[in-house]
């Protein structure tokens, strides 16, 4: 009997798409061309908040090569979309609500002609007062951004009122009792900034209508099924009339999960009756898609003198931008994760989400957790320092363990966080002394953080077909956004059927032929789709055995799969028959082609009503917890305030690494994206307008800023329900990066920084303030 790992899992199989990606053959959305294809362009709003009085498209329409123009007049009022609150049209209708919002679009014979025509569309606006921060939005005299919010369809009790988009709160234990039981109470305010996703591929879509009026749509996406649902809802189309497909995806970090320009491309293609490709410029991608939410956070934590955490209150105020998009989910999930991976008996976590006249904020790797982890984990360090405890020991003392419940009451099935902490402590040479020797003009220290994430959410399926020659076609509908899920799911399939990986092919997601998959988001594909693959494979295995039992004249239970696509009598491996022979019989003689399928929805309850009370949106069914510990070695130049991460160790408990090299790739990539969030990435608004919507002005980490020593450490605390024990890795690695880096800076400089990013200017300011204070003290 062979062990797991003999066929697919636990091995660093190379990405299935490797050859096409290194040869330049991989086709992303902008690389697709169709016969007779037109090019699209979008006109954006110049105003943050204005009523649309009328459009004049006549001169634009008469320009050479222009074939179709669409505006909000092509949409019906009730064609609104939104994952939680249906508040958004495919194009601005009636009003514009942020600078950069799509107002109209053109299809023309070239991209240049389409852009020129879009600029020639005349729109008359009546400007309205703009609301540019959550505080002003929630003031009683603020201009209302969505006057008809009370009529919008909502999927939960949002509490919407005025510009309050939604609110959520969790209560567990009795926080007032918690304060009384605490010896010391720490309270502070924190602030995080908007971060842009900057997937290297800008968003785009290509739509084509056939002679029967059915539309095919390719796009940069994280879920062909969400694209289908959103486009149909936004254009009043039956879902059966729209087929969504996917090219290769130039990465998605949440930006491509909910729709961007797909509905506009479809509208143009239907109006022009020709294929239309619409690709955003980088500037438009910054201005029109979505970004990470800025959070204002208040953390209050009570602790006993022996270092036992007792109580916590978390309050957040979130800028949601002009449309709800995923924001209510981000708020709820951030609160669910805001007590961190610690035993805290009394908790009250609550927050509000405001509409403002800015681009919508939405899903971004971490989904609100990097923001609350920045606050929570820097406060944990502050408490440890005040109590004179080692920050790692303090964390270990308070960690949730296997058998404990998460905030809300959900059981934690596996928890390798203590091992993660131990591994980064040992690898980094962490001792009680976190300050490292200063440089000539620099200070240097280590910082630590812990965080958690989930793996299971919503629904998914898989279909496995045994082809006539005994090879296998796997079809899951999960879009590989570059992280390698096609490879990982194929590895799981190969392992389950005990065949070499090259006998499995994976179908490209297609709403016509693939089983439903909610999306490549929420770190869910390995855990959710992997489980479906395993169970669909089990069905295939059973059918193979049923056929083989008749051929070999024995009971199905007496058979086993043996390596190489064979089924044999247990213990008598030469009494075997090939998958090809079995499949041939099934196709041509008896039983019918062998197909295994499985679908499921994650149904473990988030909230145990006996433990916690909730208002608003906790994700009702979410779980499969993963964990991370980070140590970062940060050096601060005292004359410039510039911070540099020299070395970092990031240990993730992923359950089981199906493909260790890809797991490392996720941990390393997440660390560097988190480094950008910690140190310099920030979308800045100049009044109502984004001031830095370009890669010249919005810097992401390059080869130079990334640490030269970056150690991804895999911890495997197997999950009893995940496929081969696997959980997730897509997001966990980013959650604690800013906190670990900030803790290092705080230690090195003996300060408490509470606002991201740690730009040279901000860091230099605290260095100078500290020097002035010290000088004043000497002078006295």
């Amino acid at each position: 009997m062979s062990k797991h790992g003999d066929f697919g899992i636990g091995k660093s199989a190379v990405q299935i798409e490797a050859q096409e990606k290194v040869s330049g053959a991989a086709q992303y959305i902008a690389d697709l061309y169709r016969p007779n294809m037109l090019f699209g362009a979008v006109l954006q709003s110049p105003h943050a908040h204005a009523r649309i009085l009328n459009y004049d498209v006549s001169s634009a329409l008469s320009m050479p090569g222009v074939r179709a123009i669409v505006t909000g007049d092509d949409l019906q009022e009730h064609w609104r979309i939104g994952a939680f609150i249906k508040d958004e049209h495919a194009l601005a209708k009636g009003k514009v609500r942020y600078v950069g919002e799509a107002v109209a679009a053109v299809a023309a014979e070239s991209e240049a002609k389409a852009r020129a025509a879009a600029a020639a569309i005349e729109v008359r606006y009546e400007e309205l007062p703009a609301v540019l921060s959550p505080e002003t939005a929630l003031a009683s005299d603020a201009a209302v951004i969505h006057e008809k919010a009370s009529e919008y369809i909502k999927v939960f009790d949002t509490g919407t009122s005025g510009n309050l988009c939604s609110r959520t709160s969790f209560r567990e234990g009795n926080v007032d009792q918690g304060w009384r039981d605490s010896d010391l109470i720490f309270e502070a305010r924190y602030e995080t900034q908007p971060q842009a996703h900057v997937s290297l591929e800008p968003c785009g879509a290509l739509a084509e209508m056939d002679a029967n009026g059915r539309v095919s749509l390719w796009s940069a996406n994280q879920s062909v099924f969400r694209v289908q649902a959103n486009v149909c809802e936004s254009l009043g189309m039956p879902m059966a009339r729209l087929r969504c497909l996917t090219p290769r995806i130039g990465a998605g970090f949440g930006n491509k999960m909910e729709p961007h320009v797909q509905p506009i491309a479809v509208l143009l293609a239907m109006k022009a009756k020709r294929p239309v490709k619409l690709i955003l410029s980088r500037e438009q991608d910054f201005e029109m898609v979505r970004a990470r939410h800025p959070f204002q956070i208040r953390f209050k934590t009570g602790v006993k003198r022996d270092g036992t955490l007792v109580a916590r209150e978390v309050e957040v105020l979130v800028d949601g931008g002009a449309f709800a998009d995923d924001s209510p989910g981000v708020l709820g999930y951030a609160l669910l994760m805001s007590c961190g991976p610690y035993r805290i008996r009394h908790a009250y976590c609550h927050g509000r989400l405001a509409y403002t006249n800015k681009m919508r904020f939405g899903a971004f790797r971490g989904f609100g957790v990097p923001q609350v982890t920045f606050a929570g984990e820097t406060q944990i360090d502050e408490i440890a320092d005040a109590l004179g405890l080692d920050p790692i020991e303090f964390r270990l003392k308070n960690l949730k363990r296997e058998g404990d419940s998460w905030l809300g009451g959900q059981p934690i099935d596996s928890n390798g966080l203590a091992e993660c902490l131990d591994r980064v402590r040992k690898a980094s040479g962490w001792t009680g002394k976190r300050r490292l020797p200063n440089g000539e003009n620099s200070r240097r220290a280590l910082g630590v953080s812990c965080s958690a994430h989930i793996s299971g959410l919503l629904s998914t399926g898989a279909i496995i077909r045994l082809l006539e020659d005994g090879t296998v076609l796997l079809n899951t509908g999960s879009v590989d956004i570059g992280q390698g899920s096609n490879t990982v799911l194929s590895q799981i399939c190969a392992e389950a059927l005990r065949i070499p990986l090259d006998r499995v092919s994976i179908a490209s997601p297609d709403t016509d032929g693939s089983p439903y998959n909610w999306g490549t988001t929420a770190s869910r594909v390995t855990y959710m789709t992997g489980t479906s693959v395993l169970r669909a494979a089990a069905e295939v295995e059973q059918k193979i055995k049923d056929h083989a039992a008749e051929i070999l004249e024995c009971a199905p239970a007496d058979l086993e799969l043996i390596p190489g696509g064979l089924v044999a009598v247990k213990g008598i491996s030469h009494r075997n028959i090939s998958f090809a022979a079995v499949s041939g019989r099934a196709h041509w003689a008896a039983g019918g082609p062998i197909i295994g399928s499985h679908s499921w929805v994650f149904d473990q309850k988030t909230i145990d009503p006996k433990r916690a009370s909730v208002i608003g949106l906790p994700f009702p069914q979410i779980g499969g917890f993963v964990f991370n510990a980070i140590v970062a070695d940060v050096e601060i130049d005292e004359s410039t305030g510039k911070c540099r991460v020299n070395r970092a160790w990031s240990a993730c408990d992923v359950g089981r690494a199906i493909n260790p090299q890809m797991v490392e790739g996720q941990i390393e990539g997440a660390f560097v994206q988190g480094l950008g969030f910690a140190l310099f990435e920030e979308l800045v608004w100049n009044g109502a307008q984004i001031a830095n919507p370009s890669l010249m002005d919005y810097k992401i980490p390059t080869f130079v800023e990334a640490p030269s020593e970056l150690h991804a450490i895999i911890v495997e605390s197997k999950d009893p329900r995940g496929p081969y024990g696997a959980k997730s890795v897509g997001e966990i690695g980013i959650n604690g990066v800013a906190a670990a880096i900030t803790n290092a800076v705080n230690t090195a400089l003996d300060v408490r920084l509470r606002r991201l990013p740690l730009t040279p200017q901000r860091v230099l300011t605290v260095i100078l303030e500290r020097e002035l204070t010290a000088e004043a003290a000497r002078a006295q």
């Binding site: 660093s12 190379v14 798409e17 330049g24 996703h197 990465a251 992280q483 090299q661 370009s694």
Partner: protein
């Protein structure tokens, strides 16, 4: 302004004539007219490196190069370098080292690395980081790319210094 002129390019070894307006970039010509799509439009501003091609052997940003300026130049995209031993070594190192995820930056990254190894066959880690610092990747955290380029350099036959 929109008048088009004929430009002669030697692209991946083949001499082709294309028509380009004065304002048109090399990137739009090779993508939209020649349908060579390995060079990507990531920013159209020279900031991301995804559109990198070789012009007379030097790595250049095709989004910043005017097509008419490339008249009679030798342009190589990754589609044309599949048989080159140095490129093959780099490609193998990228594949085995997991040096890409989404792959959108990969053609540009490989061409920048190819230009580096052509000029400096034994780069240090710092050399690699500096030479590739104009090519952005949002997926990998860069570590595996650096390792792959250094690995490819080690795997290449040592050139005899004349």
């Amino acid at each position: 302004m929109n008048q088009r002129s004929v430009v002669t390019l030697t692209i991946n070894g083949a001499v082709v004539e294309a028509r380009a307006a004065a304002s048109q970039t090399l990137l739009t010509v090779i993508r939209d007219q020649l349908l060579l799509t390995s060079a990507k439009r990531g920013c159209n501003q020279g900031a991301c490196g995804a559109c990198t091609v070789l012009a007379d052997g030097r790595a250049v940003r095709s989004c910043l190069s005017l097509a008419l300026d490339c008249d009679d130049k030798r342009i190589d995209t990754i589609e044309g370098l599949g048989e080159d031993p140095t490129m093959q070594t780099l490609q193998r190192a990228f594949i085995s080292g997991g040096a890409f995820q989404c792959g959108f930056c990969t053609p540009g990254m490989l061409l920048a690395a190819f230009a580096l190894l052509t000029n400096n066959p034994r780069p240090s880690e710092a050399d690699v980081r500096y030479a590739l610092s104009g090519n952005l990747c949002r997926c990998t955290g860069y570590k595996k790319i650096v390792e792959a380029v250094l690995g490819a350099a080690r795997a290449l036959p040592r050139q005899v210094t004349p």
